[in-house]
Protein backbone atom coordinates (compact mmCIF):
# COMPACT_ATOMS: atom_id res chain seq x y z
CA UNK A 1 0.00 0.00 0.00
CA UNK A 2 1.38 3.33 -0.96
CA UNK A 3 0.87 6.68 0.66
CA UNK A 4 -2.64 7.73 1.56
CA UNK A 5 -3.37 11.38 2.00
CA UNK A 6 -5.84 12.29 4.76
CA UNK A 7 -7.29 15.80 5.14
CA UNK A 8 -10.15 16.58 7.52
CA UNK A 9 -12.76 19.23 6.74
CA UNK A 10 -13.65 22.02 9.19
CA UNK A 11 -17.28 21.99 8.00
CA UNK A 12 -19.95 20.79 10.44
CA UNK A 13 -22.84 18.70 9.08
CA UNK A 14 -25.24 20.82 11.16
CA UNK A 15 -24.38 23.88 9.05
CA UNK A 16 -24.96 22.15 5.69
CA UNK A 17 -27.63 23.74 3.50
CA UNK A 18 -28.65 20.39 1.99
CA UNK A 19 -28.47 16.75 3.06
CA UNK A 20 -29.67 13.67 1.23
CA UNK A 21 -29.11 9.94 1.59
CA UNK A 22 -28.71 8.07 -1.72
CA UNK A 23 -29.85 4.44 -1.29
CA UNK A 24 -27.70 1.75 -2.88
CA UNK A 25 -28.65 1.36 -6.54
CA UNK A 26 -30.27 4.80 -6.73
CA UNK A 27 -28.97 7.92 -8.46
CA UNK A 28 -28.78 11.55 -7.43
CA UNK A 29 -28.53 14.51 -9.79
CA UNK A 30 -28.16 17.99 -8.39
CA UNK A 31 -26.83 21.44 -9.21
CA UNK A 32 -23.70 22.57 -7.37
CA UNK A 33 -22.98 26.29 -7.75
CA UNK A 34 -19.45 27.69 -7.99
CA UNK A 35 -18.03 28.00 -4.47
CA UNK A 36 -20.38 25.47 -2.92
CA UNK A 37 -18.85 22.47 -1.18
CA UNK A 38 -20.12 18.95 -1.84
CA UNK A 39 -19.32 16.19 0.65
CA UNK A 40 -19.92 12.54 -0.20
CA UNK A 41 -20.05 10.40 2.93
CA UNK A 42 -19.47 6.64 2.88
CA UNK A 43 -21.99 5.67 5.58
CA UNK A 44 -21.20 1.96 5.90
CA UNK A 45 -17.80 1.67 4.18
CA UNK A 46 -16.30 0.58 0.83
CA UNK A 47 -19.30 1.73 -1.18
CA UNK A 48 -18.58 2.96 -4.72
CA UNK A 49 -20.03 6.40 -5.44
CA UNK A 50 -19.78 6.57 -9.25
CA UNK A 51 -19.68 10.31 -9.93
CA UNK A 52 -19.85 12.60 -12.97
CA UNK A 53 -19.81 16.37 -13.27
CA UNK A 54 -21.20 18.52 -16.08
CA UNK A 55 -20.90 22.26 -16.67
CA UNK A 56 -24.40 23.46 -15.78
CA UNK A 57 -24.45 25.87 -18.72
CA UNK A 58 -23.58 23.24 -21.33
CA UNK A 59 -23.47 19.49 -20.72
CA UNK A 60 -21.08 19.08 -23.66
CA UNK A 61 -18.45 20.19 -21.19
CA UNK A 62 -18.03 17.43 -18.62
CA UNK A 63 -15.59 15.64 -16.35
CA UNK A 64 -12.65 14.04 -18.18
CA UNK A 65 -10.75 11.22 -16.47
CA UNK A 66 -7.84 11.28 -18.94
CA UNK A 67 -7.37 15.04 -18.71
CA UNK A 68 -7.63 14.91 -14.92
CA UNK A 69 -4.98 12.24 -14.41
CA UNK A 70 -2.66 13.80 -16.97
CA UNK A 71 -2.93 17.39 -15.77
CA UNK A 72 -2.50 16.29 -12.12
CA UNK A 73 0.24 13.81 -13.15
CA UNK A 74 -1.41 11.25 -10.87
CA UNK A 75 -3.71 8.31 -11.44
CA UNK A 76 -5.26 8.62 -7.96
CA UNK A 77 -7.53 11.43 -6.80
CA UNK A 78 -7.19 13.00 -3.35
CA UNK A 79 -6.99 16.38 -1.59
CA UNK A 80 -5.52 18.94 -3.97
CA UNK A 81 -6.61 17.11 -7.11
CA UNK A 82 -8.24 19.42 -9.63
CA UNK A 83 -11.04 17.80 -11.61
CA UNK A 84 -10.66 18.84 -15.25
CA UNK A 85 -13.27 19.01 -17.96
CA UNK A 86 -12.83 17.84 -21.55
CA UNK A 87 -12.24 21.54 -22.33
CA UNK A 88 -9.37 21.57 -19.80
CA UNK A 89 -11.19 23.86 -17.38
CA UNK A 90 -11.19 23.11 -13.65
CA UNK A 91 -14.65 21.92 -12.65
CA UNK A 92 -13.92 21.36 -8.97
CA UNK A 93 -11.10 20.68 -6.55
CA UNK A 94 -10.93 18.06 -3.83
CA UNK A 95 -10.51 20.06 -0.64
CA UNK A 96 -10.87 17.35 2.02
CA UNK A 97 -10.52 13.57 2.00
CA UNK A 98 -10.49 11.16 4.94
CA UNK A 99 -10.37 8.10 2.67
CA UNK A 100 -6.94 8.75 1.14
CA UNK A 101 -7.41 8.14 -2.52
CA UNK A 102 -10.04 7.47 -5.13
CA UNK A 103 -10.19 5.78 -8.50
CA UNK A 104 -10.97 7.20 -11.93
CA UNK A 105 -9.79 4.34 -14.15
CA UNK A 106 -12.37 1.68 -13.28
CA UNK A 107 -15.40 3.41 -14.78
CA UNK A 108 -18.98 2.40 -14.13
CA UNK A 109 -20.55 -1.03 -14.31
CA UNK A 110 -23.05 -1.60 -17.09
CA UNK A 111 -25.31 -4.51 -17.98
CA UNK A 112 -23.25 -5.05 -21.11
CA UNK A 113 -19.85 -4.86 -19.39
CA UNK A 114 -21.17 -7.15 -16.66
CA UNK A 115 -21.64 -9.89 -19.28
CA UNK A 116 -17.91 -9.62 -19.99
CA UNK A 117 -16.74 -9.38 -16.40
CA UNK A 118 -19.06 -11.77 -14.63
CA UNK A 119 -20.89 -13.75 -17.32
CA UNK A 120 -24.16 -13.50 -19.20
CA UNK A 121 -26.18 -14.54 -16.16
CA UNK A 122 -25.71 -11.00 -14.79
CA UNK A 123 -27.10 -9.31 -17.94
CA UNK A 124 -30.35 -8.23 -16.32
CA UNK A 125 -28.99 -7.10 -12.96
CA UNK A 126 -29.02 -3.41 -12.07
CA UNK A 127 -25.92 -1.37 -12.95
CA UNK A 128 -24.50 2.14 -12.69
CA UNK A 129 -24.87 2.98 -16.34
CA UNK A 130 -28.61 2.27 -16.13
CA UNK A 131 -28.74 4.82 -13.31
CA UNK A 132 -26.63 7.35 -15.21
CA UNK A 133 -28.87 7.03 -18.27
CA UNK A 134 -32.08 7.38 -16.29
CA UNK A 135 -30.59 10.40 -14.52
CA UNK A 136 -29.75 12.11 -17.81
CA UNK A 137 -33.10 11.16 -19.38
CA UNK A 138 -35.12 12.59 -16.51
CA UNK A 139 -33.06 15.71 -15.74
CA UNK A 140 -35.71 18.42 -16.13
CA UNK A 141 -33.30 21.16 -17.19
CA UNK A 142 -31.75 19.15 -20.02
CA UNK A 143 -34.31 20.08 -22.66
CA UNK A 144 -32.55 20.83 -25.89
CA UNK A 145 -29.41 18.88 -25.01
CA UNK A 146 -30.80 15.59 -26.38
CA UNK A 147 -28.68 13.69 -23.88
CA UNK A 148 -27.86 10.01 -24.35
CA UNK A 149 -25.10 7.46 -23.81
CA UNK A 150 -22.60 9.70 -25.60
CA UNK A 151 -22.85 12.01 -22.61
CA UNK A 152 -21.59 9.44 -20.10
CA UNK A 153 -17.81 9.76 -20.00
CA UNK A 154 -15.61 7.67 -17.69
CA UNK A 155 -16.44 8.66 -14.13
CA UNK A 156 -14.84 8.93 -10.72
CA UNK A 157 -15.27 6.04 -8.29
CA UNK A 158 -15.11 7.69 -4.90
CA UNK A 159 -14.02 5.29 -2.13
CA UNK A 160 -12.69 2.69 -4.59
CA UNK A 161 -9.08 1.48 -4.60
CA UNK A 162 -7.81 0.36 -8.01
CA UNK A 163 -4.00 0.37 -7.86
CA UNK A 164 -1.84 0.36 -11.00
CA UNK A 165 1.39 -1.61 -10.66
CA UNK A 166 4.69 -0.41 -12.18
CA UNK A 167 4.41 -3.41 -14.55
CA UNK A 168 1.13 -2.04 -15.92
CA UNK A 169 -1.25 -4.33 -14.05
CA UNK A 170 -4.58 -3.10 -12.73
CA UNK A 171 -5.56 -4.51 -9.35
CA UNK A 172 -8.82 -4.51 -7.50
CA UNK A 173 -7.48 -4.16 -4.00
CA UNK A 174 -9.25 -4.20 -0.68
CA UNK A 175 -11.06 -0.98 0.00
CA UNK A 176 -9.32 1.85 1.78
CA UNK A 177 -12.62 3.30 2.90
CA UNK A 178 -14.64 2.52 6.02
CA UNK A 179 -17.82 3.79 7.70
CA UNK A 180 -17.79 7.57 8.10
CA UNK A 181 -15.04 8.30 5.56
CA UNK A 182 -15.77 11.21 3.24
CA UNK A 183 -14.47 13.27 0.37
CA UNK A 184 -15.21 16.97 -0.17
CA UNK A 185 -15.13 18.98 -3.37
CA UNK A 186 -15.31 22.72 -3.89
CA UNK A 187 -17.00 23.66 -7.16
CA UNK A 188 -15.00 26.06 -9.35
CA UNK A 189 -17.86 26.60 -11.80
CA UNK A 190 -21.62 26.01 -11.81
CA UNK A 191 -21.98 22.24 -12.09
CA UNK A 192 -24.49 19.47 -12.25
CA UNK A 193 -23.38 16.40 -10.31
CA UNK A 194 -24.67 12.94 -11.21
CA UNK A 195 -23.98 10.10 -8.76
CA UNK A 196 -24.88 6.47 -9.24
CA UNK A 197 -24.65 4.75 -5.89
CA UNK A 198 -23.29 1.49 -7.28
CA UNK A 199 -25.69 -1.49 -7.15
CA UNK A 200 -22.99 -4.07 -8.02
CA UNK A 201 -23.63 -7.50 -6.43
CA UNK A 202 -20.88 -9.42 -8.21
CA UNK A 203 -17.71 -7.69 -7.06
CA UNK A 204 -15.88 -8.20 -3.76
CA UNK A 205 -14.80 -4.51 -3.72
CA UNK A 206 -17.94 -3.59 -1.76
CA UNK A 207 -18.13 -6.91 0.07
CA UNK A 208 -20.98 -7.92 -2.31
CA UNK A 209 -23.10 -5.54 -0.27
CA UNK A 210 -24.05 -2.15 -1.74
CA UNK A 211 -24.93 0.39 0.95
CA UNK A 212 -26.21 4.00 1.12
CA UNK A 213 -24.06 7.14 0.89
CA UNK A 214 -24.97 10.64 2.04
CA UNK A 215 -24.40 13.90 0.16
CA UNK A 216 -24.14 17.23 1.95
CA UNK A 217 -23.80 20.72 0.45
CA UNK A 218 -22.52 23.87 2.12
CA UNK A 219 -22.91 27.39 0.77
CA UNK A 220 -19.75 29.51 0.51
Amino acid sequence: MSVLNYTESPLAPASASYRHIIPAGDFWMHEIRAGQVLRILDLEGNQAADTLFYAAADFRERYSAQDTIRENASIYLTTGTKLYSNELNVLAEITADTCGRHDTLGGACSCEANTIRYGHGTRHMHSCRQSFLLGLMTWPHATGFDLNKRDIPPNINFFMNVPVTPEGGLQFADGVSSPGKYVELTARMDLVCLISNCPQLNNPCNGWNPTPVEVLIWNP
Binding site: A65, A73, I75, L105, E112, I116, R117, Y118, N203
Partner: protein, 266 residues
Protein backbone atom coordinates in the same frame (compact mmCIF):
# COMPACT_ATOMS: atom_id res chain seq x y z
CA UNK B 1 -24.50 -21.91 -38.59
CA UNK B 2 -24.51 -23.54 -35.14
CA UNK B 3 -26.66 -22.15 -32.36
CA UNK B 4 -24.78 -19.36 -30.57
CA UNK B 5 -24.61 -19.87 -26.80
CA UNK B 6 -22.87 -17.69 -24.20
CA UNK B 7 -19.50 -18.80 -22.82
CA UNK B 8 -19.32 -19.91 -19.20
CA UNK B 9 -19.09 -17.29 -16.46
CA UNK B 10 -15.76 -17.12 -14.68
CA UNK B 11 -17.19 -16.66 -11.20
CA UNK B 12 -16.01 -13.82 -9.05
CA UNK B 13 -12.30 -14.58 -8.92
CA UNK B 14 -10.26 -11.44 -9.31
CA UNK B 15 -6.88 -13.07 -9.70
CA UNK B 16 -5.11 -12.04 -12.89
CA UNK B 17 -4.11 -15.11 -14.84
CA UNK B 18 -2.47 -14.82 -18.22
CA UNK B 19 -1.82 -17.56 -20.79
CA UNK B 20 1.35 -19.52 -20.30
CA UNK B 21 3.64 -20.21 -23.25
CA UNK B 22 5.10 -17.91 -25.86
CA UNK B 23 3.45 -14.64 -26.80
CA UNK B 24 2.69 -14.63 -30.53
CA UNK B 25 4.92 -12.34 -32.55
CA UNK B 26 3.68 -10.46 -35.60
CA UNK B 27 4.65 -12.25 -38.80
CA UNK B 28 5.52 -10.59 -42.11
CA UNK B 29 2.36 -9.88 -44.14
CA UNK B 30 2.12 -12.24 -47.14
CA UNK B 31 1.97 -10.18 -50.34
CA UNK B 32 -1.26 -11.86 -51.46
CA UNK B 33 -3.00 -10.83 -48.22
CA UNK B 34 -2.05 -7.15 -48.30
CA UNK B 35 -5.07 -4.97 -49.08
CA UNK B 36 -3.80 -1.45 -48.50
CA UNK B 37 -0.56 0.35 -47.62
CA UNK B 38 -0.27 4.05 -46.81
CA UNK B 39 2.30 6.23 -45.12
CA UNK B 40 0.89 8.85 -42.82
CA UNK B 41 3.23 11.85 -42.27
CA UNK B 42 3.78 13.02 -38.69
CA UNK B 43 1.20 15.49 -37.36
CA UNK B 44 -1.62 14.35 -39.63
CA UNK B 45 -4.86 12.39 -39.24
CA UNK B 46 -7.06 9.97 -41.13
CA UNK B 47 -10.34 8.11 -40.64
CA UNK B 48 -11.31 4.88 -42.35
CA UNK B 49 -13.23 1.64 -42.01
CA UNK B 50 -11.70 -1.69 -41.08
CA UNK B 51 -13.89 -4.65 -41.99
CA UNK B 52 -14.51 -7.44 -39.51
CA UNK B 53 -11.56 -9.87 -39.33
CA UNK B 54 -9.33 -7.60 -41.39
CA UNK B 55 -6.13 -6.65 -39.56
CA UNK B 56 -4.70 -3.15 -39.33
CA UNK B 57 -0.94 -3.02 -38.85
CA UNK B 58 0.58 0.21 -37.53
CA UNK B 59 4.35 0.63 -37.89
CA UNK B 60 6.45 3.38 -36.35
CA UNK B 61 8.70 4.58 -39.16
CA UNK B 62 10.92 6.57 -36.80
CA UNK B 63 11.78 6.34 -33.10
CA UNK B 64 9.43 8.26 -30.82
CA UNK B 65 6.32 7.92 -32.99
CA UNK B 66 2.83 8.22 -31.46
CA UNK B 67 -0.61 7.30 -32.78
CA UNK B 68 -3.58 8.80 -30.93
CA UNK B 69 -6.41 6.40 -31.72
CA UNK B 70 -10.21 6.22 -31.47
CA UNK B 71 -12.52 3.49 -32.75
CA UNK B 72 -16.27 3.03 -33.12
CA UNK B 73 -18.66 0.28 -34.14
CA UNK B 74 -19.18 1.25 -37.79
CA UNK B 75 -22.80 0.06 -37.83
CA UNK B 76 -23.71 1.96 -34.69
CA UNK B 77 -21.10 4.60 -33.76
CA UNK B 78 -22.79 5.34 -30.42
CA UNK B 79 -21.13 2.01 -29.53
CA UNK B 80 -17.46 2.95 -29.14
CA UNK B 81 -14.12 2.08 -27.48
CA UNK B 82 -14.41 2.36 -23.73
CA UNK B 83 -11.26 2.93 -21.70
CA UNK B 84 -12.37 1.77 -18.22
CA UNK B 85 -14.24 -1.31 -19.49
CA UNK B 86 -11.17 -2.33 -21.51
CA UNK B 87 -8.77 -1.92 -18.58
CA UNK B 88 -10.82 -3.43 -15.79
CA UNK B 89 -12.07 -6.35 -17.89
CA UNK B 90 -8.48 -7.41 -18.56
CA UNK B 91 -6.91 -6.23 -15.29
CA UNK B 92 -4.43 -4.10 -17.18
CA UNK B 93 -3.25 -0.50 -17.37
CA UNK B 94 -1.30 -1.06 -20.59
CA UNK B 95 -2.26 -2.47 -23.98
CA UNK B 96 -0.29 -5.19 -25.75
CA UNK B 97 -0.64 -8.62 -27.42
CA UNK B 98 -3.67 -10.50 -26.12
CA UNK B 99 -5.67 -7.42 -25.18
CA UNK B 100 -9.01 -6.61 -26.75
CA UNK B 101 -10.42 -3.13 -27.16
CA UNK B 102 -13.90 -3.33 -25.65
CA UNK B 103 -16.79 -1.11 -26.61
CA UNK B 104 -19.14 0.39 -24.04
CA UNK B 105 -21.78 -2.11 -25.18
CA UNK B 106 -19.61 -5.03 -24.09
CA UNK B 107 -18.30 -5.94 -27.53
CA UNK B 108 -14.82 -6.58 -28.85
CA UNK B 109 -13.92 -3.95 -31.45
CA UNK B 110 -10.29 -4.96 -32.01
CA UNK B 111 -7.91 -7.68 -30.79
CA UNK B 112 -4.21 -6.89 -30.48
CA UNK B 113 -2.87 -10.02 -32.15
CA UNK B 114 0.78 -8.99 -32.30
CA UNK B 115 3.03 -6.30 -30.89
CA UNK B 116 6.81 -5.82 -30.97
CA UNK B 117 6.76 -3.20 -28.22
CA UNK B 118 4.95 -4.67 -25.18
CA UNK B 119 3.30 -1.50 -23.89
CA UNK B 120 0.96 1.07 -25.40
CA UNK B 121 -0.55 3.90 -23.38
CA UNK B 122 -4.30 3.96 -22.71
CA UNK B 123 -4.16 6.73 -20.09
CA UNK B 124 -2.55 9.93 -21.35
CA UNK B 125 -5.23 11.31 -23.66
CA UNK B 126 -4.41 13.59 -26.57
CA UNK B 127 -2.65 16.90 -27.09
CA UNK B 128 -4.33 20.23 -27.77
CA UNK B 129 -3.17 23.45 -29.43
CA UNK B 130 -2.43 24.80 -25.94
CA UNK B 131 -0.17 21.83 -25.05
CA UNK B 132 1.79 22.24 -28.30
CA UNK B 133 2.11 26.02 -27.99
CA UNK B 134 3.26 25.80 -24.38
CA UNK B 135 6.06 23.36 -25.18
CA UNK B 136 7.14 24.33 -28.66
CA UNK B 137 5.53 27.65 -29.48
CA UNK B 138 2.67 28.48 -31.78
CA UNK B 139 3.35 28.13 -35.51
CA UNK B 140 0.27 29.07 -37.49
CA UNK B 141 -0.62 28.17 -41.04
CA UNK B 142 -0.34 31.73 -42.37
CA UNK B 143 3.31 31.91 -41.32
CA UNK B 144 4.46 28.33 -41.65
CA UNK B 145 2.22 26.68 -44.26
CA UNK B 146 2.71 22.89 -44.09
CA UNK B 147 5.26 23.18 -41.29
CA UNK B 148 2.60 24.54 -38.87
CA UNK B 149 2.18 22.96 -35.46
CA UNK B 150 -0.76 20.57 -35.34
CA UNK B 151 -2.51 18.73 -32.54
CA UNK B 152 -4.73 15.70 -32.01
CA UNK B 153 -7.69 17.57 -30.50
CA UNK B 154 -8.31 19.64 -33.62
CA UNK B 155 -7.77 16.62 -35.88
CA UNK B 156 -10.16 14.48 -33.84
CA UNK B 157 -12.90 17.12 -34.00
CA UNK B 158 -12.45 17.45 -37.76
CA UNK B 159 -12.47 13.70 -38.43
CA UNK B 160 -15.41 13.09 -36.07
CA UNK B 161 -17.38 15.74 -37.96
CA UNK B 162 -16.73 13.95 -41.26
CA UNK B 163 -18.73 11.03 -39.88
CA UNK B 164 -21.56 13.06 -38.37
CA UNK B 165 -20.01 12.86 -34.90
CA UNK B 166 -18.85 15.70 -32.66
CA UNK B 167 -17.09 16.67 -29.43
CA UNK B 168 -19.55 14.55 -27.42
CA UNK B 169 -18.05 11.53 -29.20
CA UNK B 170 -14.48 12.46 -28.35
CA UNK B 171 -14.03 9.71 -25.77
CA UNK B 172 -10.71 8.80 -24.12
CA UNK B 173 -8.23 7.67 -26.76
CA UNK B 174 -5.32 5.24 -26.90
CA UNK B 175 -1.74 6.33 -27.63
CA UNK B 176 -0.09 3.53 -29.54
CA UNK B 177 3.74 3.53 -29.40
CA UNK B 178 3.82 5.63 -26.21
CA UNK B 179 4.34 4.67 -22.57
CA UNK B 180 3.64 6.36 -19.26
CA UNK B 181 5.28 5.05 -16.12
CA UNK B 182 3.35 4.90 -12.87
CA UNK B 183 5.12 5.17 -9.52
CA UNK B 184 3.79 3.23 -6.51
CA UNK B 185 2.31 6.52 -5.27
CA UNK B 186 0.46 6.93 -8.57
CA UNK B 187 2.61 9.63 -10.19
CA UNK B 188 2.62 9.51 -13.99
CA UNK B 189 5.64 10.23 -16.15
CA UNK B 190 6.40 10.00 -19.87
CA UNK B 191 8.99 7.53 -21.18
CA UNK B 192 10.83 9.27 -24.06
CA UNK B 193 11.48 7.42 -27.33
CA UNK B 194 9.59 4.31 -26.23
CA UNK B 195 8.99 3.17 -29.83
CA UNK B 196 11.96 2.32 -32.04
CA UNK B 197 11.85 2.67 -35.81
CA UNK B 198 10.11 -0.46 -37.12
CA UNK B 199 8.06 -1.28 -34.02
CA UNK B 200 4.60 -2.43 -35.06
CA UNK B 201 1.35 -3.86 -33.79
CA UNK B 202 -1.54 -5.75 -35.36
CA UNK B 203 -5.17 -4.91 -34.65
CA UNK B 204 -7.69 -7.47 -35.88
CA UNK B 205 -11.18 -6.01 -36.23
CA UNK B 206 -13.87 -8.06 -34.49
CA UNK B 207 -16.69 -5.92 -35.92
CA UNK B 208 -16.77 -3.47 -38.82
CA UNK B 209 -14.96 -0.59 -37.16
CA UNK B 210 -14.52 3.12 -37.87
CA UNK B 211 -10.99 4.20 -36.95
CA UNK B 212 -9.91 7.80 -36.37
CA UNK B 213 -6.23 8.30 -35.70
CA UNK B 214 -3.63 11.03 -35.63
CA UNK B 215 0.17 10.96 -35.78
CA UNK B 216 0.57 13.94 -33.47
CA UNK B 217 2.76 14.04 -30.38
CA UNK B 218 1.72 12.38 -27.14
CA UNK B 219 0.45 15.17 -24.85
CA UNK B 220 3.26 14.49 -22.36
CA UNK B 221 6.00 14.13 -24.99
CA UNK B 222 9.21 15.69 -23.66
CA UNK B 223 10.90 16.01 -27.06
CA UNK B 224 12.99 19.21 -27.22
CA UNK B 225 11.41 20.26 -30.52
CA UNK B 226 8.10 19.77 -32.31
CA UNK B 227 8.54 16.87 -34.71
CA UNK B 228 5.80 14.22 -34.92
CA UNK B 229 6.92 11.04 -36.66
CA UNK B 230 5.47 9.22 -39.70
CA UNK B 231 3.58 5.94 -39.38
CA UNK B 232 2.84 3.17 -41.90
CA UNK B 233 -0.74 1.85 -42.14
CA UNK B 234 -1.37 -1.58 -43.68
CA UNK B 235 -4.58 -3.55 -43.98
CA UNK B 236 -4.42 -7.28 -44.55
CA UNK B 237 -6.91 -10.13 -44.68
CA UNK B 238 -6.82 -12.47 -41.67
CA UNK B 239 -8.97 -15.40 -40.51
CA UNK B 240 -11.52 -15.04 -37.68
CA UNK B 241 -10.25 -15.88 -34.18
CA UNK B 242 -9.98 -19.65 -33.74
CA UNK B 243 -11.06 -21.40 -30.52
CA UNK B 244 -7.44 -21.36 -29.28
CA UNK B 245 -6.74 -17.79 -30.44
CA UNK B 246 -4.30 -16.07 -28.07
CA UNK B 247 -6.50 -13.01 -27.62
CA UNK B 248 -9.59 -15.14 -27.03
CA UNK B 249 -7.83 -17.14 -24.31
CA UNK B 250 -5.92 -14.20 -22.80
CA UNK B 251 -8.70 -13.66 -20.28
CA UNK B 252 -12.04 -15.45 -19.80
CA UNK B 253 -13.59 -11.99 -20.22
CA UNK B 254 -12.26 -11.85 -23.79
CA UNK B 255 -14.17 -14.97 -24.79
CA UNK B 256 -17.37 -13.29 -23.64
CA UNK B 257 -16.53 -10.00 -25.41
CA UNK B 258 -15.96 -11.92 -28.66
CA UNK B 259 -19.27 -13.71 -28.09
CA UNK B 260 -20.98 -10.32 -27.81
CA UNK B 261 -19.43 -9.23 -31.13
CA UNK B 262 -20.55 -12.51 -32.68
CA UNK B 263 -24.07 -11.95 -31.37
CA UNK B 264 -24.12 -8.41 -32.84
CA UNK B 265 -23.08 -9.84 -36.23
CA UNK B 266 -25.84 -12.47 -36.55
Amino acid sequence: MPLLTPPAPSGTSFTTQRPTGPIPQPAPIPADRLLLEETLPGGTAVSFNVRRHTTLRLTALEAGANVSFLCFNRAEPVDRYNLPDTLKGQHTAKLTTGCLLYSDMGRALFSITGDTLGWHDPLGGHDTAAHVAKKWGHLDYQTSRNAWHRNSRDHFLIELAKHGLNARDLVPNINFFSKLETSPAGALSFVPNHARAGDHLDLRAELDVLVILTTCHHPLDTAPAYGPKPVLLQLHATPPPASDDYCRTYRPENERALYNSERFSL
